[in-house]
Symmetry: C2
Subunit: 800 residues, 2 copies
C-alpha cells in the first residue's frame, strides 16, 4: 500500500504549535508536560466519540509488550512507541502491515516524521503529532479528516469557538455545519438572446452556501457549469444519433476550410429592475452533486451549479460549444463577482446580489463540465481565479473530428454536436415551455447538423468557433488540468494542445495525468487529490499564503507499470523531448533502415457477414484487430512489431507516423494504433473498489467509495497505447483539402494521440495500420485499397 501525498505544506515547529493550538489540539501548557503526560493528552484527543479513554489506551500497543495505558506509566516515550501508536491510529495493522519491534520496516509507504534520537521530548511529540494529523490513513484521507468525520471539530465546538474558515497545514478544514446548508436559486440575466424572443436569456443558477454566510462571512464559490444538471433527453439523443455505415466521400479541394466570418450579435436591452431583495426566494431539493464540491461545502466554500442556455428553467437554445454557450457560462461568474444582475425569479425583476461571495470563484467538473471551465477561462472573465478542468474538451473538433474525418468519442459511434445539443436541451422536459419554441429549436438543430458537416469532416467555421484554444492567450485564471491517458472519450489531444498553449502563458498551471479512462479520480487512495485541490483553492480563493503554487507538482503522471505510483515531472510532451525512429519493414519495426522492399497492400473492405458482425460487436472487432495471432483481419491490417525492449522506454508526447502511401481510389482514410505487446500483468482498466462508503467528505455527511487502480490479477497479451485517424485528402494540413490521384504515392506525416507510457523490458512495441475504426470512424466498407512504400515509412517516438 502506498499512501502518496503531494499536498503537504512544510512547516516549522513554531507553525505546528500555532496550528495545533488553533484547532485546540494542544494548549499553551502542553509543551511543558512530561513526554508521557503529553502523549496521554495527544492520544486522548484522538477519541472524540467517547469518554472511555482508558479503554482506548488499552486497545493500542505502544511496544511489543505494553499497551498504551501500561506504557504511559513510564516517563519516557520512544520513537518506536510513537511509530507504533500512530501507525495504529492510521489504520495499519500489526502482523499484516508492520511489527511492533521495528515499525519502520513496514511495507506500507506513508508519510511519517523522522526523529534524531530514540527518546522523544515534548517538542518532538508535538511535531510528530502534527505530522500524524496531516498523514493519510489507510482510507486515503488525512488523519485529521478522519478525526473530523468521527466528530472531532463538532465536539470542540460544543464548548469552544473555532475560526471559520479554519486552515491546517494550508488546507481548509471541515468545520462548517453541513446540516444547515442553504439552497437557493437565482436567475442571472445574460447579455444574449439565443432563443430570439427579444428578451435577454435568464439563466437558472442553483446555489448551496454555508449558513455561516448569514452571519456575515463571505466565502468563495466553486462553480460547476453542467448542461446535464437539469436532466437529459436520452431517447431523443439516441433517435438523432447518426448512421456510421456511410460512404467516404470525395471532397472538393480547397486551400482553406475556414472562412473569415464576423459574428453579428443583437442583444436586447436588459430588463428594468423593479426592486431588490436581500435573499433569493426560490429553493431547490435534491440534485446531482459532484463529490469534490461536497467536500468543499464542509470547508467554507459555496457551490453553484448552472446548466446554461436551453436547459430546464433557463431561457435560450443549446448550441454545443459555441461562443454563446461560453457567454452563458461566464454570466454566472459575472453575477458572483458583482457585475451582472440576477433576479429572484423569471418574471418579477426583483434583483438579488451574491453578497455572501468574496468574489473569488473557481470552476470545477469533468467532461462537458470541465470543458465549460476552459471556455470561461479563455474569456479572461474577472473573478475567475482558477479552474480545475478534468477530462475536458479544449476544442470540439478534437472531440468529434480528427484530421478531416468524422471520428466519434470512443463508445459513442454516431454521436455528434447536434446529438449532444438535443440531449442537453432540457427545456424540452417542460412541455409548456418547449412547445412554443419547438419549431425554433428544430430549425436551430438543423443548422447545427448542417454546419457540423459530417459529409466532409472539415475543420470549418463551425468548429473554429468551438475551438477554445483560439482565445487561449486571454486566460488569466490559473489552471489545473486532470486527464486520463486512456480516455478515448475526450481524447488526450484535448489536454495536450491546451497544455502546450499554456506552457509560456504567465499563469500557474498544473497537470495531473492518470492511467484511467473518462472518470473522476478524487476518491483514489494512492493520490491525495482532494488535499492538493484544498491546498490550491485555499490559496487561490481564500488568498491563504500556503505556497500552493510551489508545493504542488507541475506535472504528476501515474505510472502504468506499477500500482499506486505517481511520478513528479516538470513537463509533458515537451518539444525538446528526444525522438527515437523506427523503420517499418515487413512485419517489423526496426531501429535502422534495411534493404529496399516491395510495396505492401491493405484493403478496407470486409465480407458483409463479417462487417455486420463487427457492427454489433465492437469488442470482437477490437480483439481481431489487435491480436497478432488472429487472422480474421489479415487483409485489413498491417502489423509491425519491434524487438523486445531491453531497457525501459518512456514514451512521452505524440508518436508521429510518416508514410508513403498510394490509394486505389480518389478517397482514403487511414487509422493507426500503437500497442504494447507481451503477456504481462498490467494496471486494470478501471480502479477497483477498496472499501464501500469509506471516503468521508465531513461529519455524518456525504461518503464515497474508496477506489484504486490495481494490477490486474491475470496477464493480458496487449494494451493500446495510442491511436489516430486521417483523411488522406487532409494529408498536408488540417484546413487544406487536396485531391487524391489513384495510384500516386504521397508522403505524409501525422501525429497520434499524446501519451506517457513506459514500455518495460520484455514488452514489444507494435504498430497497426488499418482503415475503418469500428469504434470511432465512419464504416464505409467500400472497396478501398492502399499501397505502402515501406522504404519511406517510419515512426517517430518522443520519449524521456
Amino acid at each position: 500500500m502506498k499512501l502518496n501525498q503531494f499536498g503537504i505544506r512544510p512547516t516549522t515547529l513554531t507553525e505546528e504549535i500555532n496550528e495545533l493550538q488553533r484547532i485546540k489540539f494542544i494548549d499553551e501548557e502542553s509543551l511543558d508536560q512530561a513526554p508521557n503526560q503529553l502523549l496521554r493528552i495527544l492520544l486522548c484527543k484522538c477519541f472524540p466519540e467517547t469518554n472511555t479513554l482508558d479503554q482506548q489506551l488499552n486497545n493500542l500497543m505502544a511496544t511489543a509488550d505494553q499497551n498504551a495505558a501500561q506504557y504511559l506509566t513510564g516517563q519516557q516515550v520512544s520513537a518506536t512507541a510513537f511509530y507504533n501508536l500512530t501507525f495504529q491510529l492510521l489504520g495499519l495493522e500489526i502482523e499484516q502491515d508492520f511489527n511492533l519491534a521495528t515499525p519502520l520496516a513496514t511495507k506500507v509507504q506513508l508519510h511519517y516524521p523522522q526523529f534524531e534520537h530514540e527518546y522523544l521530548n515534548a517538542q518532538d511529540l508535538v511535531h510528530g503529532w502534527y505530522q500524524l494529523l496531516i498523514t493519510h490513513t489507510i482510507h486515503g484521507q488525512t488523519y485529521l479528516d478522519e478525526l473530523a468525520s468521527r466528530g472531532y471539530f463538532v465536539k470542540i465546538m460544543q464548548t469552544e469557538t473555532l475560526p471559520k474558515p479554519l486552515f491546517f497545514n494550508g488546507k481548509a478544514q471541515p468545520v462548517f455545519d453541513t446540516t444547515k446548508l442553504i439552497h437557493e436559486v437565482v436567475y442571472v440575466e445574460s447579455s444574449q438572446d439565443t432563443d430570439h424572443d427579444q428578451q435577454r436569456d435568464l439563466l437558472k443558477a442553483e446555489i448551496i452556501r454555508p449558513v455561516e454566510t448569514n452571519q456575515g462571512l463571505q466565502v468563495p464559490a466553486l462553480y460547476t457549469s453542467s448542461p446535464y444538471n437539469q436532466g437529459t433527453n436520452d431517447f431523443a439523443g439516441e433517435q438523432l444519433t447518426h448512421n456510421v455505415q456511410t460512404a467516404l466521400h470525395v471532397k472538393q479541394p480547397t486551400d482553406n476550410t475556414v472562412q473569415v466570418a464576423s459574428l453579428h450579435r443583437l442583444v436586447p436591452n436588459p430588463s428594468s429592475i423593479q426592486g431588490e431583495v436581500h435573499t433569493a426566494t426560490e429553493s431547490f431539493g435534491n440534485h446531482f452533486s459532484y463529490s469534490l464540491n461536497d467536500y468543499f461545502l464542509a470547508r467554507g466554500f459555496a457551490v453553484v451549479y448552472a446548466a446554461g442556455i436551453g436547459t430546464k428553467d433557463s431561457d435560450g437554445l443549446r448550441t454545443c460549444g459555441d461562443p454563446e454557450e461560453t457567454i452563458s457560462t461566464t454570466a454566472i461568474i459575472e453575477w458572483l463577482n458583482g457585475s451582472r444582475t440576477a433576479f429572484t425569479n423569471k418574471t418579477d425583476c426583483q434583483q438579488t446580489r451574491a453578497w455572501w461571495c468574496n468574489h473569488h470563484i473557481a470552476m470545477t467538473g469533468r467532461s462537458y463540465l470541465g470543458t465549460l471551465a476552459i471556455a470561461a477561462a479563455t474569456t479572461g472573465v474577472a473573478g475567475l481565479k482558477t479552474i480545475i478542468a478534468e477530462a475536458a474538451i479544449s476544442s470540439w473538433y478534437d472531440y468529434y473530428r480528427e484530421h478531416g474525418l468524422v471520428v466519434a468519442p470512443g463508445g459513442f459511434p454516431g454521436e455528434d454536436s447536434d446529438v449532444l445539443a438535443e440531449e442537453t436541451f432540457s427545456r424540452q422536459k417542460q412541455a409548456g415551455d418547449y412547445l412554443p419554441i419547438k419549431n425554433k429549436w428544430h430549425q436551430q438543430l438543423q443548422t447545427l447538423t448542417q454546419q457540423q458537416d459530417r459529409l466532409n469532416g472539415d475543420y470549418n467555421n463551425y468548429w473554429d468557433q468551438r475551438n477554445y484554444r483560439r482565445q487561449l492567450h486571454q486566460i488569466k485564471a490559473d489552471v489545473i488540468l486532470v486527464h486520463g491517458l486512456n480516455d478515448w472519450n475526450v481524447k488526450p489531444k484535448n489536454v495536450q494542445k491546451l497544455w502546450d498553449g499554456l506552457r509560456n502563458l504567465p499563469i500557474t498551471k498544473k497537470l495531473i495525468l492518470h492511467q484511467g479512462p473518462h472518470i473522476y479520480i478524487n476518491n483514489n487512495r494512492s493520490l491525495d487529490f482532494n488535499d492538493m485541490m484544498n491546498l490550491w483553492l485555499s490559496y487561490k480563493l481564500y488568498d491563504l499564503d500556503n505556497q500552493a503554487a510551489q508545493i504542488l507538482p507541475n506535472v504528476l503522471i501515474q505510472d502504468n507499470t506499477q500500482a499506486e505510483t505517481w511520478q513528479v515531472l516538470n513537463d509533458w510532451n515537451n518539444p525538446k523531448n528526444p525522438q527515437t525512429k523506427f523503420y517499418l519493414a515487413g512485419d517489423q519495426l526496426l531501429p535502422a533502415k534495411t534493404a529496399t522492399k516491395a510495396p505492401i497492400s491493405l484493403t478496407d473492405q470486409l465480407p458483409t457477414t463479417q462487417f455486420q458482425a463487427y457492427n454489433h460487436d465492437l469488442t470482437s472487432w477490437q480483439h481481431d484487430l489487435t491480436d497478432l495471432n488472429n487472422t480474421n483481419l489479415t487483409k485489413q491490417r498491417l502489423t509491425f512489431l519491434a524487438a523486445k525492449q531491453a531497457q525501459p522506454l518512456v514514451i512521452d508526447g505524440r508518436p508521429q507516423l510518416n508514410l508513403r502511401i498510394a490509394c486505389a481510389q480518389p478517397i482514403g482514410m487511414i487509422s493507426a494504433r500503437l500497442v504494447d505487446y507481451g503477456d504481462f500483468q498490467r494496471l486494470a482498466k478501471m480502479p477497483s473498489m477498496l472499501d464501500s462508503q469509506a471516503y468521508d467528505q465531513g461529519y455524518h455527511y456525504h461518503k464515497e467509495d474508496l477506489k484504486e487502480y490495481q494490477l490486474a490479477q491475470q496477464t493480458t497479451p496487449y494494451q493500446l497505447i495510442s491511436l489516430s485517424h486521417l483523411n488522406l485528402q487532409n494529408r498536408t494540413k488540417l484546413t487544406q483539402v487536396e485531391p487524391i490521384f489513384p495510384g500516386k504515392y504521397y508522403d505524409l506525416s501525422f501525429k497520434l494521440q499524446p501519451t506517457h507510457y513506459q514500455l518495460a523490458p520484455g514488452h514489444q512495441l507494435g504498430l497497426i495500420i488499418y482503415g475503418t475504426d469500428f469504434e470511432m470512424t465512419i464504416r464505409p466498407n467500400q472497396d478501398l485499397k492502399y499501397h505502402l512504400d515501406l522504404n519511406h515509412c517510419t515512426l517517430n517516438l518522443p520519449h524521456l
Copy 2:
C-alpha cells in the same frame, strides 16, 4: 417503461380526503371549490421550492393547445387535462412518452385513476390527486416522495404542525429531521462468554435515532446485525483460504454423520450494575449504512447496527454461524425490548435503557446480515416482529457444502467457515485488545478448521449446529424473504428450504425472487420495493391497520424473459407442481423412452496444462464447459439437448436428476448444470444504472443510483438455469456415507438448485453432466471415470 407498484393500499374517497388533509395538501374548503380553482390549488402544492406558481403553470401543458395557466381560466377540468398534467408531474415527456391528445395511449405502464366521465368534479380531482401522490414517478418513487425530497414537508412544517409519524396510503412519510439524527453507542451484556475470560461478553451496538424521540416519541427499531460493520481482515482471510487442488478422498462408511451432542454452556454471572444513566455517553461518526435503513430513518424508525461477538469493540470470539453467534445477535433485541442490560461503556457498569424504543423490532440486511436475521427469528425472541432477510443463508452447510462435498460460494473457491470467521474477527484491528487473546483465537480457529472437516464434506454436528432450519418451528416473527435466482454465492436452496419450512407455519410470510445475483434490489425502478417494505413495517412496527399482509403479494417473481416484469404468484416450489420427465439419450433430452443404448463414459482428468489454465481462468472453463460447439472438454462432459420449445415452459422448483452410474474408482463426484440454449436477447446479468444519484431517501439526505435489469443489447448463446454437485458416497442420504464398489452401477437421484425460469418458445433445454466444477468444488484432477447407463437416466422438471 413499467412502473410496477405492489405496495398500494386501496382507499375510499373519505379516506383519501382525510389523508390529504392530514398532510395539508387540501383543507376543509377544498371540496367546495370549482374544479378549475381546486386544480389550481392542487397544482400549486406541487412546487414547494418556489413562489412563482404562474411560471410553473406556464411550463405544464393541459391540452394540446393550452398550458395549465391558460386552461385554468376555463371552468371545466377534463380527464384528459388531468392525465396530461399529472403525467408531466410524474416526469413523463410529451412526444417521447405520451401525446397530449390521447395521454392514456402511453406505452409507459403506470398507475393512474380511472374516471367514469370526461369532466371532473372536485371529488374526482381529489381522488385523482391522491392517486397521483401514491404513483411512482420515472425515478421509481412515489410522487409524494419526490415532493418530499423537493421540500414539501419541510415547507409545511415551517408554519404548521404535522403528526409524527405521518402515514399516507399506509406508509410512513419522511417528516423526521434527518439533519439532527442522534448517534449513540451502548454495550449490551450478553448471556455468554465466548472468549472464556469469566466475564459475560459485552457487545457494541450503534444506534441512530430520530431527535424527535427526545420529545417522548417512542419509535420502532430496524436492527441490522453485520459482522462486517467494524471492518474485515481481508488479508488474513486470503491467507487462510484453502487450496482447492486437492484429491477426493475415500470416506469411511457410516449410517449417520450427525451424533447426538449436548451443548454445555457455562455463563458467568452478570456484572453488578453500578448505576443508571438516561442516555448513552458514547457517540460514533461516519459508518457504513444500508440505504433501506436510511430510508426509514427519515420516516420515524431508529436503526441499530451491531457486529456481534469477536468484532472490534465487542468481547468474544467469532464462531461463524453457531448458536453462540445467534445468542449475541438476539441479545441486542432483548435490550431493545427491555429485558437485557446494556452499559454506557465496557468498564463503568452504568446501565442505560432503550426508553426511546416502542419494543417493536425488525431485522434487515443482505447475505450474512440477512442470515443473522434468520438466526434470530428461529429463536422466537420476544420483540422481534418481523425480518426482511435478503440473499440470506438458512443453513451454513448449504453455503459451504453440498451433498457430501465441499462446494464453495461462487466466486470464492477455497473459502470456508474458518476463513469467514477470521475475516470478521475485527478485534484483531485493535492490537491492544487482540494480542492478549491471540492464542485463544488461534486455538478456536483450529477447532473451526478441524470441525468443518473439508476432508469429508459431511453434514456433521458442526454443520447441524449451523442449520437454522432445525429450529424453524420456533419462528414467531413474520418473515419477508428476498433472493436472486442467479445468486451463486448464497445459492437459492437457502431460501427455498426455508420457504418450504415456513409454508405451514402460522405466521405471515412473503417471498420476492429477482433474476439478479447476490445484490440488493431496493433501488430498482420497476419494483416499489421500498414502498412495500414501508407498508409492511408501518403495519408490523407501528401497528398501523393498513392491511399490509393482504395487500403484499405472497410471492413476487421477476420474469426472466422480459424487462421490468414481475409476476404475482401464490407459492414457489410447491410440492404439488406437475413434473415433466426427460429421458437422457445419446446427446438428447427426449420426452419418451427410446431403444436400449450402450453405457456412455465421462472422465474427470485434464492434461496438466489445461488444468492449470482453468485454475487461473474460470471464465474460460465456464465457457468451454457450456458452449456446445467447443471441444476442449468433450471427454470431461456429457451434454444432452432437448428439442426447441414449442410452448413456453415455466420451470418452478428443483429439477431432479436420476442417474444409473458406475465409478472406476471407489470415489466419485458428479456435477450437473441445466442450461437454456439458443441465440436470444436475455436479461443482463446485472442491473444497469439508469440515473446517478436519482433515488432519494429524504430531503437533502442520502441518495442512491437508480437501477434496472434491462434486456442485454446483444444476444447470448446460453444461460445457466441451475446446478448441483454430489459426492457419490452420499448417494442415498445426506447424512449417510456408503462405499463405492468400482464398476458397480448405482441408482441415485439428486435435486439441483431451485429456480423459476421460463423457457420461451425456440429456446432449448440443455443438461451437462461433469465432474470437477472449477467455480465451486474441489479440483482433484484424479483419474476418475464414470459410466452412465442411459436406459435409466432421467431428468424431472417441476413446472407451473
